[in-house]
């Protein structure tokens, strides 16, 4: 064997992960089609609300991507990523709400005989925002709400720091597997319960509302804003996909997959397992938060129920149904399940009449989802993305029946070649 065979020249990463190019192509095409069909700049076949639904779905795909990276590739079943998603939404929502209320308050105070002082404006905004929870002063966590750049920084920093601290505590004490899942779920529950209080400073269970009205952009129709947000979501998803595929296709990716498959061995090989896990956990938390910051201006309202543990469980459901350990699988799963869910729960699905009993999908959809989730877990652990494997397996060499699923999987032959 020559040196070349042991250390072949590294291919550009796009070539190492061809699925990325395909995905970006499809995403671009989809964005183009939606833009043409939407009301904002196109022919108006798709309603504004559906454009928003599609934009939100892209954000959900992005958080699913993060979930896939942390769970499908690194083996950490985090039940807290929707909490990071929500924190991102809260961070951007605080600025949106502050800035919009500031405009309203300033314009109403402009009619007063004296020009308003900063304190008067601030009091006016505070009583507008916190009237519902019976407070009229800004809690300390709103200190930076007036500044768009600072709140944008908070979108990244707050979830990032939370994930860093939580992950450091959890990984250094070697909490793994189901224990870690339960611990992340507890973190999510604690956060949701905290936000549910009226004196949390974030309006308790009222949450933040009116986020779809961008401050200072009232003259621009929602149809335009929705398509712009759709583009932004598509761009963010595309970038996140590129970065994630870059992370997983190099040596770093091999290490995190190795951690997933056998943590102890990787540790004995001299890798700092905790550092790798901490990086992935924090990195994906930030992706989730950015997705949340794009999602909630389109949704218009955020409240603590969005952060409740069940949301993170659904996130795991999407990724599992889409197929773990494949970035496009997570995206497919999130898009498929969340759009299907919108279709079923929106009352558009036809009821099934069984004679004595009529299945109304609004009531029975969740049951169907639960059962299909169980079925996917047991019978098709590779999810929808597994269908693509069927095609590629036809062309790839025989592995003598060795399963390459997320748990039993070892180093892939293609990876060994690289």
């Amino acid at each position: 064997m020559s040196d070349i065979a042991l250390n072949p020249p590294r291919k550009p990463f796009a070539a190492r992960y061809p699925a990325m190019l395909v995905f970006i192509g499809i995403l671009a095409l989809f964005t183009l089609v939606v833009s043409v069909l939407a009301e904002g700049f196109g022919i108006g076949v798709i309603s504004t609300s559906f454009v928003k639904t599609l934009g939100k779905t892209l954000c959900l795909c992005m958080v699913a991507l993060a979930m896939d990276l942390v769970w499908g590739y690194c083996g950490i079943l985090s039940l807290g990523h929707m909490a990071f998603f929500g924190i991102g939404g809260y961070a951007i929502g605080m600025w949106l709400m502050y800035a919009r209320t500031e405009i309203i308050v300033t314009s109403s105070l402009a009619n007063a005989p004296l020009p308003p002082t900063p304190a008067e404006i601030s009091d006016g905004i505070a009583s507008q925002i916190f009237g519902v929870v019976g407070a009229s002063e800004f809690p300390p966590i709103w200190a930076f709400a007036h500044s768009f750049p600072l709140q944008l920084a908070a979108v990244v920093l707050v979830p990032g720091l939370l994930a860093l601290v939580f992950g450091w505590l959890a990984f250094r004490s070697r909490v793994t597997g189901v224990y870690l899942s339960i611990l992340t779920q507890a973190m999510t529950l604690a956060l949701a319960l905290f936000l549910f209080q009226n004196d949390s400073g974030l309006r308790g269970n009222n949450g933040l509302s009116g986020l779809q009205n961008l401050p200072g952009l009232d003259h621009i129709p929602q149809s335009t804003i929705s398509i712009v947000f759709f583009w932004a979501s598509a761009l963010a998803l595309g970038l996140a996909f590129i970065i994630c595929s870059w992370v997983i296709s190099g040596k770093f990716g091999s290490v995190i997959r190795a951690i997933r498959d056998d943590e102890a061995r990787v540790r004995f090989l001299g890798y700092s397992v905790e550092a790798y896990k901490l990086f992935i956990f924090t990195f994906t938390a930030i992706i989730a938060a950015i997705a949340g910051a794009l999602y909630y201006p389109q949704a218009g309202i955020i409240n603590p129920a969005e952060i409740a543990p069940i949301a993170s469980i659904y996130l795991a459901v999407w990724v599992a149904i889409g197929g773990r350990g494949k970035l496009y699988g997570a995206v497919i799963g999130a898009a498929f399940v969340s759009l299907l869910s919108t279709w079923f729960t929106g009352g558009q699905a036809p009821d099934i009449n069984l004679g004595l009993f009529t299945i109304q999908w609004v009531d029975w959809w969740t049951i169907l989802l639960g059962i299909s989730f169980v079925a996917v877990t047991i019978f098709a652990p590779r999810g929808i993305g597994g269908l693509f494997d069927l095609i590629s397996e036809r062309r790839s060499p025989n592995r003598h029946g060795a399963a390459l699923g997320p748990d039993a999987g070892a180093l892939r032959e293609q990876e060994a070649d690289q």
Partner: protein
């Protein structure tokens, strides 16, 4: 003709009058007493009536009580001619039925116009009522005496004190006597004449937990804060924050009021002169400093009251001394009351700790009940069952359905407990056969699959039973609380849950350590292959164990449903806490689960006590604490050692 008729009626009235006059005895002691105070009684004035009521009340006459009662209900009349007092009831619009004031004997009827009704106003009726209390306190009927005491406890007056003192010695019932004595001391605290007896009464209550004692003492220690150039003798000086001190001076008109932002704005608005105020451009008045400057200019021109500056405040405050005085009691009494309250406070704090401990134990038993099933499936089998909460919910709904069929609450609970066990046992076995069996050794996927089951079961319950909460009513004998004293009490349901938790601990220990099933379960847990080579069927054991754990969850559901509402989402309220309990306690050890439940329960109660307004915050902090706890004992309080730990 008409005249004749009138004459006839007049004659008859006269005859009747003569009749009543002869029938009524005029020289009974009570009638004489009434005659003695006739003027005052007829005048019926709140100010002068006192002596008459006292005379009646203290006369020692048997009839006095009756007279007072009838007087109070406006049934005491006086004959306009003879001035004699009678009881009368209106028969119709013109006729009265008369009764003697002595003994209330009927003495015939008379036309109404010959009599005048005494109409005591509400003030006088109050005085009469107070006088009557004495009679009620001495009434031969124990129930009347108890009612009178309750009335005094609710709304005491000065006059009650004497009446009560007079009624203690004659009391025969021991319980009532104690109550009377206690009430007498309480009233002495409030109404006692001289300080010494009040202080003595106060000191007699040292350490007493009664709410009534604190209610009597608290007003005595009320203080008012005051300011003067020189403090009077004996006043307690206080240090006030400058803002409060100045506000006090303003309230007492000792200093000019601060000029608020609002006043400044209003004054400025009132003095707008075109586009400027006092020579300052309007547009530049967008800061508080600029506004104050403009205001000061106005003040200099005499158009406004000058603003008070910080220096003014400091100078004014220096001139005054601030002190507190007791408002409602002489200082000696107030100090005694304060001491007594301090002593009571300590005692209350101790008892509150005991109460808190009871609360914590009962919460711990609820968590233990919720977690014990999980301790079996997770701890013994290593299977994560996220649908555990839904088994709890299923058990509670089973109880609800049983109550629909069996209306008797006691019987229905007795039926519901085994029914819930059977239903959830079956559900558990079905789930093990259909789902979990395929996923052994893939714990994360078990977690996910059971999530799916959990979501589906929750929605199924919602579809069947609706979203509103369903009641699971406890039998009557579980209503109410065991009250130890005014501070410490615990409801019977919580005691029952505690007992149930103990029973389950016993059951678990018995099954695991003393039965064949337990032996086989332990064998399969430790080494399934070895166990199966010894003739144990691991499949069957896993199925039964899982069913057993689920069945216990069902029974826990009945217990939890008794004190909380049954909803389709009740499982989610317990699942995280249950897992916390098992994880904190240490997996695979029932004593660990017990410790974990105790810790989680006491923690939650303890945090709630620190921040009583907010149980959400308590849960938040508890979870944070547990996350930190896991840092130090990642394998729980009682960690398995050796090979079993890695299994």
């Amino acid at each position: 003709m008409l005249t004749l008729c009138r004459l006839m009626v007049a004659c008859m009235a006269l005859c009747l009058h003569a009749l009543t006059a002869t029938a009524q005895t005029t020289d009974t002691p009570i009638q004489l007493l009434l005659q003695e105070h006739a003027e005052v009684l007829k005048k019926s004035s709140r100010k002068t009536i006192g002596p008459a009521i006292d005379a009646l009340a203290n006369s020692g006459l048997e009839d006095a009580q009756l007279v007072l009662e009838r007087w109070q209900t406006k049934e005491l009349w006086v004959n306009k001619d003879s001035g004699l007092f009678v009881f009368a009831e209106k028969k119709d619009s013109k006729t009265l039925a008369l009764f003697d004031v002595a003994g209330g004997v009927a003495i015939g009827e008379a036309p109404k116009k010959a009599f005048k009704q005494l109409k005591p106003n509400s003030g006088i009726r109050g005085l009469i009522g107070a006088a009557l209390v004495q009679f009620q306190l001495n009434s031969p009927d124990a129930e009347t005496r108890a009612t009178a005491l309750t009335a005094i406890e609710r709304d005491a007056e000065v006059s009650h004190l004497l009446a009560l003192r007079g009624a203690i010695d004659s009391e025969t019932d021991a319980t009532l006597k104690t109550r009377k004595q206690r009430l007498e001391r309480l009233l002495t605290i409030r109404f006692g004449q001289d300080d010494a007896e009040r202080i003595a009464a106060i000191q007699s209550f040292a350490g007493d937990l009664g709410v009534d004692v604190r209610a009597a003492l608290n007003p005595l220690v009320a203080t008012t804060t005051d300011a003067a150039k020189t403090a009077p003798e004996g006043a307690m000086p206080v240090d006030l924050p400058p803002a409060d001190a100045y506000a006090l001076l303003v309230a007492e008109d000792l200093a000019p009021a601060l000029v608020s932002h609002d006043t400044i704005r209003e004054t400025l608005v009132a003095n707008i002169d075109g586009t400027q105020i006092a020579g300052v451009q309007l547009a530049s008045l967008n800061t508080d400093a600029a506004r104050l400057a403009a205001y000061n200019t106005l003040a200099d021109q005499g158009a406004a009251q000058p603003a008070v500056t910080e220096a003014d405040i400091a100078a004014t405050l220096k001139q005054f001394q601030f002190f507190q005085t007791y408002t409602n009691a002489p200082i000696a009494v107030a100090i005694a009351a304060q001491d007594a309250l301090d002593a009571i406070e300590t005692s209350v704090a101790l008892n509150q700790t005991a109460d808190l401990a009871l609360d914590a134990i009962s919460l711990a038993s609820i968590y233990f009940l919720a977690a014990i099933g999980l301790a079996i499936t997770f701890g013994v089998m290593g299977v994560i069952n996220m649908a555990h909460g839904e088994f709890i919910m299923m058990g509670a709904y089973t109880g609800y359905v049983v109550q629909l069929i069996v209306p008797d609450y006691t019987l229905s609970i007795i039926v519901a407990i085994p029914a819930a066990f059977i239903v959830t046992f079956a559900a558990g076995v079905a789930m093990e056969r259909l789902v979990i069996r395929w996923l052994y050794h893939r714990p994360l996927e078990t977690l996910l699959a059971t999530f799916g089951v959990s979501i589906a079961l929750q929605q199924l319950a919602k579809n069947i039973f609706g979203t509103q909460a369903r009641p699971l009513t406890a039998p009557g004998w579980l209503d109410g609380s065991w009250i130890i004293n005014d501070v410490v009490s615990i409801s019977y349901i919580r005691i029952a849950i505690f007992v149930l938790a103990l029973l389950f601990l016993g059951l678990f220990l018995f099954v695991m350590n003393r039965t064949r099933l337990g032996l086989e379960v332990r064998a399969v847990t430790q080494n399934p292959r070895m166990a199966s080579s010894m003739g144990i069927n691991p499949d069957r054991i896993n199925m039964l164990t899982f069913g057993f754990g689920s069945g216990i969850a069902g029974i826990a559901g009945v217990a939890i449903g008794l004190y909380a509402k049954v909803t389709s989402e009740m499982g989610t309220d317990y699942i995280v806490q249950s897992f916390m309990t098992v994880v904190v306690g240490g997996v695979g050890n029932i004593w660990g689960t017990l410790l974990g439940a105790t810790m989680v329960g006491s923690l939650q109660k303890g945090i709630e006590w620190l921040n009583p307004s907010n149980s959400l915050a308590a849960q938040t902090y508890m979870i944070l604490f547990i996350i930190f706890f896991i840092q130090f004992r990642p394998r729980g309080i009682i960690a398995l050692k050796g090979r079993a730990a890695e299994a």
